[in-house]
């Protein structure tokens, strides 16, 4: 563990609280982007646990996000009528935990049957799971089918998004840097050697999936209460890919790099709005160019870790 990490967490949360107190004075467009950034940081650090630290390629992260999103939104919509206005933060907290737990359950469901697969096969199966989740939501009348859920109360503010991001980053870093967490790195570096040393790779892979899915679910819950409308197409393969790009650009397994990448890649598309017609063409070209120029990630100075998978 980085020395004094807990202190950093406390400082970060206090800072976020202070900034949040003044949030009314910011331009609401910028504030909204800032909240998006916070949510994307949670997504990126949670996928980084699966991809960067444990070395499992997952292309279905948006699926977990969808589960958390829909669960939390349905929960708050159902409860809003029965509780007083002042209980809103508790409702959101309940939604976050519920969404996270259900997403974690889905993570378990994906992890257990697919743990025998590796590399490309795993990637395609996670992609498949993400698609299945999307199609299921697309057909569930209870959550609005293809048109999605709307009228979700707006509970996510700057404080919630960023303090959850700080907690997620801290929790995952603490997990990876614990004695138990060394197992993730061992599985990442060499699965066979790890199992020869008595580490059960399967257990670590499943743990990574479950924890990663939990935080993706939490991020989804925050997302639903920020956007106020969600629909299945918002959680498609493209969204999963965006998160993957954040992890890769940040340098797999490098928490700080991944956070910076999440910030950059959330702001970049907004900046490209001026050239709306060419926005996505530029975005995809940038991905190709970066992959050729700096495959080890933008913020990796030494390429000793994560670059060899």
């Amino acid at each position: 563990m980085i020395p004094g990490a807990k202190r950093w967490l406390v400082i970060a949360v206090i800072l976020i609280a202070i900034i949040s107190a003044f949030s009314k004075q910011f331009n609401s467009y910028y504030l909204s982007i800032a909240i998006d950034v916070g949510i994307n940081i949670i997504l990126a650090v949670s996928l980084n646990l699966i991809m960067g630290h444990t070395g499992q390629f997952s292309l279905g992260h948006a699926g977990f996000m969808a589960v958390g999103s829909y669960t939390a939104a349905s929960f708050t919509i159902a409860c809003t009528k029965h509780v007083p206005e002042s209980a809103a933060p508790f409702l959101l907290l309940g939604g976050l935990i519920l969404g996270g737990l259900l997403a974690a359950l889905c993570g378990l469901a994906v992890g257990v049957p697919t743990l025998r697969l590796r590399g490309d096969y795993l990637a395609i199966v996670t992609l498949g799971f993400g698609e299945i989740i999307r199609v299921v939501f697309q057909n569930m009348e209870a959550v609005g089918a293809a048109s999605g859920l709307s009228g979700i109360p707006n509970h996510t503010n700057f404080f919630w998004a960023w303090s959850t991001a700080a907690i997620a980053a801290y929790a995952i870093a603490a997990l990876v840097n614990s004695t138990y967490g060394r197992g993730f790195i061992a599985v990442h570096d060499d699965e066979i050697a790890a199992s020869a040393m008595g580490i059960n790779p399967t257990r670590y892979k499943v743990t990574a999936f479950v924890v990663g899915a939990f935080f993706a679910g939490v991020a989804g819950a925050l997302y639903a209460h920020h956007k106020q409308t969600i629909n299945p197409t918002g959680f498609d393969f493209m969204k999963s890919f965006e998160i993957v790009v954040m992890v890769i650009l940040g340098g797999m397994g490098r928490t700080v790099g991944v956070i910076i990448a999440a910030i950059l890649l959330t702001i970049l598309p907004e900046m490209l709005r001026a050239v709306a017609d060419y926005r996505m063409i530029i975005y995809s070209l940038l991905i190709i160019i970066i992959m050729m120029a700096r495959p080890q990630g933008l913020f990796t100075l030494r390429s000793n870790k994560g670059a060899n998978t």
């Binding site: 390629f57 049957p113 697919t114 025998r116 697969l117 590399g119 490309d120 096969y121 990637a123 395609i124 199966v125 992609l127 498949g128 799971f129 698609e131 299945i132 199609v135 299921v136 697309q138 057909n139 066979i192 393969f237 890919f241 993957v244 790009v245 890769i248 017609d277 060419y278 996505m280 063409i281 975005y283 995809s284 070209l285 991905i287 190709i288 992959m291 050729m292 495959p295 670059a307 060899n308 998978t309």
Partner: protein
């Protein structure tokens, strides 16, 4: 009974399109060990090539004739073969020695680039277009079964192309070289095989098959758009994995299986809305029991 037979025919027509695309995925995977995510977009470009070729070809050869259809198909295959070679040369060749993940992300990047460029209003535009009738469209009725000429052509063309592919891979010098590179690139290079040429050829061959699939698909469903390759490409990839990736008969089998199952599921009440998820459901189910696909060989890990 007739209903089931009808579904089977529709399923086989769809399945053979999946199979043609899956062959491209599997060949590239066999030789380079990576998923060419842009392959579904080459399929789309093939359909668009057919769309734009139909008119000029009709000026030379009377429209809606079989000869005209064949010429359009051949030209589109040629164009896409060149495109495949160019994509490989520009995007993948510089990354030949890089980690697989890097190449995979680049491939997704290339795929997005093609999709968004083609959706741009100065290129194809985002709205769907009606594919011209390349050949006279007739339907036959056989004891309650309705068979369209497009379906027959899909099946016949697929069979012919597969025979041609088998011949190329098994009997020609370049096919032997392909198999050698797939088996062991270093050893093949030591034996005098030009690995770069073989890889270019593989991309060209796979892209030509994808283009053929694109035109057959467009003939069957009449409407084309720049995103038509996304779902179809994904499913074809599932077909390739289903059969055991890197295995040519496996890709054909996986494609046909997927097409038939999907068509049957689409006809069933209750689950018809889930047809897009069914391909993945089958994939996960099969991989749980056979982690390397139906016809794939289990590889032991070397330590």
């Amino acid at each position: 009974m007739t209903d089931q037979l009808q579904q089977l025919i529709n399923g086989l027509a769809l399945g053979s399109i999946y199979a043609l695309i899956a062959l491209g995925y599997t060949m590239v995977y066999g030789v380079l060990r990576f998923i060419n995510f842009a392959h579904g977009d080459v399929f789309m470009l093939g359909a668009f090539a057919g769309y734009f070729l139909a008119e000029p070809v009709a000026k030379v050869i009377p429209p809606q004739s079989y000869l005209g259809g064949i010429v359009v198909l051949m030209l589109a295959m040629l164009i896409c073969a060149l495109l495949g070679v160019v994509i490989e040369f520009l995007a993948y060749r510089p990354l030949r020695k890089r980690p697989k993940l890097t190449v995979l992300i680049t491939a997704i990047g290339v795929s997005l680039f093609i999709e968004y460029t083609c959706q741009h209003k100065k290129v194809f535009g985002a709205s769907p277009r009606v594919f011209p009738e390349l050949i006279p469209n007739t339907t036959w009725e056989l004891g309650g079964l309705v068979i369209g000429s497009a379906q027959v052509i899909v099946l016949v063309t697929t069979i012919l192309l597969m025979i041609a592919l088998t011949f190329i891979v098994q009997r020609t010098k370049i096919g032997t070289a392909m198999r050698a590179v797939a088996f062991n690139p270093q050893a093949a290079a030591l034996m005098g095989v030009n690995v770069n040429h073989v890889i270019s050829f593989t991309f060209g061959l796979g892209s030509a098959l994808a283009a053929a699939a694109g035109i057959l698909f467009a003939m069957n469903y009449a409407s084309i758009d720049p995103l038509m390759g996304v779902q179809t490409g994904l499913k074809a990839f599932v077909a390739a994995v289903l059969g055991g990736i890197g295995n040519l008969p496996g890709a054909a089998l996986g494609g046909l299986l997927l097409g038939v199952v999907e068509t049957f599921a689409g006809g069933m009440k209750g689950i018809s809305n889930y047809r897009d998820a069914i391909a993945f459901g089958i994939l996960i189910l099969i991989l749980m029991f056979r982690p390397s696909g139906l016809l794939g060989k289990q590889q032991t890990e070397k330590v």
